[in-house]
């Protein structure tokens, strides 16, 4: 089908069915370089499934996912990550027994093999990078804190930091502001704008206010299919979208 493109992500005809139920149905989705793309939709629309498919957690029934012209559907999860795709889970998924510093160190993209990790050295470069990321995610003061003690919002940022340290070309975030306070939401919006420079970001979100703050392009999913796509203000006025999602 599509040959070489300069898109970061090109999803074409992607379908996955669970026992005949099509959670994602012939989906086409394109994400440009440096684009911050938001996917919204009611519960069960298939939003999280799309992320699962891209990062390899779920295998597609058919269709293709091309990331920088590389087919992802045939790769194992860790190979997809190494290709440059980072994914944040919906609930903060961090290592609670380790400190913030160690969480970032474990995510540092060197020493990824068994032998490599045994002889991995915490040199200045690593420490510098960790401090730089910690500053970006507003956690520089708590580097030595056990991460179980962080607030919910800080945990979400830490997980984002753990992805940033790998410098992915595509960052996927599953409901990054769920459960956050108003202030934390604002800070997260700022953070997202900052980190979307130089990479593509795909966000799944429920919170419309937050989406308005960050979105450039929006795709509305409904029952595994695209209902509408385009600029936020246009999508919001689309009568179909209002009916299934925004109306209530």
């Amino acid at each position: 089908m599509s040959t070489s493109t300069d898109l970061t992500l090109a999803i074409e005809d992607l379908t996955v069915s669970f026992d005949g139920f099509k959670a994602v149905d012939s989906l086409n989705l394109y994400i440009d370089k440096n684009e911050l793309h938001v996917v919204i939709g009611p519960n069960g629309a298939g939003k999280t499934t799309v992320l699962d498919l891209i990062c390899g957690k779920t295998k597609a029934s058919s269709g293709s996912i091309k990331f920088l012209n590389k087919e992802l559907t045939e790769l194992a999860e860790h190979e997809i990550v190494r290709a440059g795709v980072g994914r944040k889970f919906q609930t903060p998924s961090i290592y609670e027994n380790l400190t913030v510093f160690e969480n970032l160190e474990v995510s540092y993209p060197y020493g990824r093999t068994v032998i490599g990790s045994l002889f991995f050295k915490r040199n200045n470069e690593v420490v510098k990078k960790i401090h730089q990321i910690a500053k970006e995610i507003m956690l520089e003061d708590v580097l030595d804190t056990e991460s179980a003690l962080l607030s919910h919002g800080q945990k979400q940022w830490l997980e984002i930091g753990m992805l940033l340290i790998q410098d992915p070309q595509l960052l996927m975030l599953d409901e990054p502001v769920a459960g956050m306070s108003v202030k934390e939401r604002e800070q997260t919006a700022e953070l997202l704008k900052k980190i979307s420079k130089g990479r593509s970001v795909l966000v799944i979100e429920h919170d419309m206010e937050f989406v308005e703050q960050i979105a450039q392009k929006v795709t509305v999913l409904h029952q595994g299919k695209i209902l509408a796509a385009g600029q936020m203000d246009k999508v919001q006025k689309d009568p179909k979208v209002i009916e299934v999602y925004l109306g209530h």
């Binding site: 990550v81 889970f89 290592y95 380790l98 160190e105 474990v106 991995f120 753990m162």
Partner: protein, 385 residues
């Protein structure tokens, strides 16, 4: 230098724990116990190898293996096969119908040495086999399980089944393995009398030295990035996988390493006790090893060694007086440890020491009433681990 100090010894806290243990097993026991008891302690310390392996595998990696007896047994049988061949020289076995083969083979109408026994005539091969075969076997099991993402309870059950299968195989193939009696009557190692007093002392000290080396090596693993990853995999496997790691390789590695440690323990067992039998391979010994680690503290390498010693002292003391009560007692001990002190003896010790240091800080503060006396006490986890 500081690399070795911090990575292997575990800094000041780790050094204290290690020196205390070394003093106990290298000085106190040999000076205070008679040779019979010392030999018994030596036997207990061979069980500490699989217990330490379970700290790595279960405590840190979250992989509960109920079949460490398999590797302990493979190591022990490897050594026993070599010793048995040495004990079965044609002169020693002249009264058999086929002289020169182990006695149990002769009883089972075997007329020549099976092919897989042949290489065990060589001591060098035997040592290599003890180090390689159990680890290779663990690799096969590990690759089959972890690549398919089998884990948790399923993994525990499968390892237990493997322990059962191996026991049945050993018991059933009497002519090749010595059956239920095991491989007995082992007397000399390269012509050197294993039952002599000096040999018993030497084996005891070699055993202690190996155990301490393994603690150091394990510490190196735990303090490296691999160690952090191990904890990370235990707590959030998916996050590790989606951070670009092939999780199964890490699990396979630690499983193989645990198998290697257990096998060394098994080989030392054969040398010190003078026989090997299927009763050290099956479910019961494998579960006992888990209990040793749990009681000692499954997050503490040194704690597991103390746990092994304590439970075995208890076993010997109680089973001499109330043999039928012992199993209930041990079961009760295991349950209460899991319910009340999930970090075992090491956890209790750390709490106690934490309490003491706090108290000390409080007292000095009162008496000297200076400002900066409360030293930061990061004594929490490191002293015994």
């Amino acid at each position: 230098m500081s690399f070795f100090y911090n990575k292997l010894i575990g800094g000041k806290e780790g050094l204290t724990g290690l020196i205390l243990l070394a003093l106990l097993i290298l000085v106190v026991f040999p000076l205070t116990l008679d040779l019979f008891r010392l030999n018994l302690v030596g036997k207990y310390l061979t069980y500490a190898f699989p217990a330490v392996s379970l700290v790595l595998l279960w405590g840190y990696g979250g992989i509960l293996s109920l079949g460490q007896g398999v590797f302990f047994g493979l190591g022990g049988y490897g050594m026993a096969m070599f010793l048995k061949l040495e004990a079965s020289s044609p002169e020693n076995t002249a009264i058999q119908s086929t002289p020169g083969i182990p006695d149990f083979m002769d009883w089972n109408q075997l007329t020549e040495l099976p092919w897989f026994w042949e290489p065990f005539n060589s001591f060098a091969f035997t040592i290599l086999a003890i180090l390689i075969i159990p680890a290779a076997f663990a690799y096969i099991i590990g690759a089959a399980m972890f690549k398919r993402r089998v884990g948790g309870v399923y993994f525990a059950i499968i390892t237990q089944v493997i322990a059962v299968i191996l026991t049945i195989l050993i018991v059933g193939q009497q002519g090749y393995t010595g059956g239920i009696n095991g491989i007995t009557d082992l007397r000399t190692l390269n012509g050197w009398d294993m039952t002599s007093d000096s040999a018993k002392y030497i084996f005891y000290f070699i055993n202690c030295a190996l155990l301490l080396c393994i603690v150091l090596l394990s510490r190196f693993i735990l303090t490296s990035k691999f160690g952090s990853l191990l904890l990370a995999i235990r707590d959030k496997e998916d996050r590790v996988r989606f951070s670009g790691y092939d999780v199964s390789n890490f699990k396979i590695f630690i499983y193989c390493f645990a198998a290697l440690i257990s096998a060394i323990g098994g080989a030392m067992f054969t040398l010190q006790v003078g026989f090997m039998s299927p009763s050290f391979v099956g479910i019961v010994p494998s579960i006992e090893m888990v209990i040793f680690a749990a009681i000692g503290g499954r997050m503490s390498l040194i704690g597991a060694i103390y746990g092994t010693l304590l439970v075995n002292f208890g076993k010997t003391a109680f089973s001499e007086t109330f043999p039928e009560l012992w199993l209930f007692l041990m079961g009760g001990l295991f349950i209460s440890v899991v319910m009340l002190f999930p970090n075992g003896l090491a956890g209790l010790w750390n709490d106690y020491k934490h309490h003491l240091t706090n108290r000390f800080a409080f007292i000095t503060k009162r008496f000297k009433s200076q400002k900066t006396l409360t030293r930061p006490t990061n004594a929490e986890s490191e002293s015994l681990s």
